[in-house]
Amino acid sequence: MTAATAQLDAGASPAVGESRRKRNPLPYILLAPGVLWLVLFFLIPIFTAVSASVQTGSLDEGFTLTWRWANYSDTFSTYNSEIAHSLFYSVACTVLCLLLGYPLAYFIAFRGGRWKNLLMALVIAPAFTSFLIRTIAWETILADHGPVTRFLMDVKVTDLMAHLGLLTNNHQLLNSPFAVIFGMVYNFLPFTVLPLYTSLEKIDPRLHEAGADLYCSGFKTWRHVTWPLSLPGVIAGTLLTFIPAVGDYINAYMLGSPNTMVIGQVIENEALRSESGYPTASAMGVVLTVGTLLIVLFYVKRAGTEDLL
């Protein structure tokens, strides 16, 4: 894609006409509205939020900038369990998505044959309807006296999960950390699979044959040939899963309980339903934004900017 773009850059200008020479204002005219929109409604708000996070006051009296950095330490100490939940759930979700998504993407890319596109459509198709409604559907599937819960109780898996702290008690799957992570894996799995599939699909299957010719076992071929070549997809997939997962609170709200509160719920509550919570919500938002920006910049440094889009 990078190569193709560069080629177009070099080739397009003379093709379209000699009028587009140096100092052509057209690209800037084309860019201006979109870039301004993002600067005004995405970039500048980040700085506004940084300023808001060190203000004090309440909705009635108004907020003043007092450079109260203690808002941050207050936020961390008040909501440390919510922050811990968010991190634990999103890391668990990312790891599980990779473990489930890799074999799925691998199968579609190398064994899919002429069904490739249909199988990928099946991966994306569930997203064709409201994700809130689909998340509610898990309430039915994982219901307290439903077949899934009863089966897991019969084989004593619920005892083990309760023991590990993944379930609140051994006769209920819902309203537990397990249910929250389960819902997140369900919602974000396509985000892992798409980039994984894109990078696996580019791998020449003849490389596998070459591995076999050189007496490599299937696993060794995967370990030394396929895995390194699929790394860009792994990095992109985990990034695209972890980032929305760390801010998500729909699953924690619908499938969890008050004991599974995450950062997102705190931000929404503080911002919308609390008298003086808006600096706290901003502080939390700034921490989350800076954290993700650091991860993204690290990724950009490793992978370059053109590959991102």
């Binding site: 894609m1 193709a4 177009l8 850059d9 080739g11 397009a12 093709a15 379209v16 006409g17 009028s19 587009r20 690209p27 509205p33 979109g34 870039v35 993002l38 409604f41 995405f42 970039l43 506004t48 300023s51 808001a52 489930l100 074999p103 799925l104 691998y106 199968f107 064994r111 199988l119 099946l122 991966v123 198709a125 309807t129 409201s130 809130l132 509610i136 039915t140 369900y186 799995l189 396509p190 801010g247 998500d248 609170y249 709200y253 619908m254 997102g264 929404e268 911002a271 939390m284 938002g285 700034v286 989350l288 934004t289 993700t292 920006l293 993204v296 950009v300 900017t305 991102l308 889009l309």
Partner: protein
């Protein structure tokens, strides 16, 4: 012999895993379709009671729900037009022109796709509080937010189409004495159109389904996802499944419809 057997098992384990994961992904959609025909035993449509077409016959039993759908569709249409126009222009500039600050703009375009929704919503609402005031939150602030987070997806989609286009076609048009404007209207635009339409569909889907950024920028407006989220606390009527199923069926029909010319073409060939 043993390695052959192992290979067979491995191949079929992979197949089994694939099938199970696909079932896992599709199960909630099936539940949603089935439960749209349920007569809920109580306020929550979670347990199967008995077959009924009541919810399909009276989809607007809750008038709040139907007005929220109307609002969501209106917002999605306006946001789609805005995001598609702005994003397509940016995509053309990115693939067809050289300019300064290219990599900075690439990062700026990538960040909205990489930032957690809740931080985008939070920072944006802080910005609105400090500029236009909390009273001004409502329809237009939702539209502004939706254009903001859909824009990058439009750029990616249209850019992919532009990058995959054969540049010789435009050269051929120029050789045949087409002016740059004619080349753009008669050659470039028709070729990019599928990409622009795909981008528009994507931003419509993103807008109509968004909850987190919307709730933070909505003021007193209630969109359909906000209605579903709030109703979860006191009741989940079967009508919600009816709306979900309708959305699913419309999209599937649209995709099938888009495939028809393709199928006819391949049959003829």
């Amino acid at each position: 012999m043993i390695s052959k057997a192992l290979g067979w098992i491995r191949a079929h384990v992979l197949l089994a895993v694939t099938v199970l994961i696909l079932l896992f992904l599709i199960a909630p959609n099936v539940i949603m379709l089935v439960f749209s025909f349920n007569e809920p035993p109580n306020k929550y449509n979670f347990v199967w009671n008995k077959f009924s077409t009541n919810a399909w016959q009276h989809p607007c039993a809750s008038s709040d729900m139907c007005s929220s759908i109307k609002l969501s569709v209106t917002i999605a249409i306006i946001a789609t037009i805005g995001a598609t126009a702005l994003g397509t222009m940016v995509a053309f500039a990115m693939t067809r022109h050289r300019f300064k600050a290219r990599s900075a703009i690439n990062v700026l375009l990538f960040l909205p796709m990489a930032a957690p929704e809740v931080t985008m919503g939070m920072t944006l609402v802080t910005f609105f509080y400090n500029t236009i005031g909390s009273g001004a939150l409502g329809f237009w602030t939702i539209v502004i937010a939706h254009i903001m987070f859909s824009l990058s997806y439009v750029v990616v989609t249209v850019k992919a189409r532009l990058a995959g286009m054969d540049p010789t076609l435009e050269k051929a048009a120029a050789d045949l004495y087409a002016t740059p404007t004619q080349t753009f209207r008669r050659v470039t635009l028709p070729l990019v159109m599928p990409g622009i339409l795909a981008a528009a569909l994507l931003s419509f889907a993103l807008s109509i389904d968004d909850y987190i950024i919307t709730v933070l920028t909505a003021g007193n407006e209630v969109t359909f996802p906000m209605y579903v989220y709030a109703s979860f606390q006191h009741s989940v009527p079967a009508q919600i499944d009816v709306i979900g199923s309708t959305m699913l069926l419309i999209t599937l029909a649209g995709i099938a419809f888009a495939q028809v010319p393709q199928i006819i073409k391949t049959r003829r060939a």
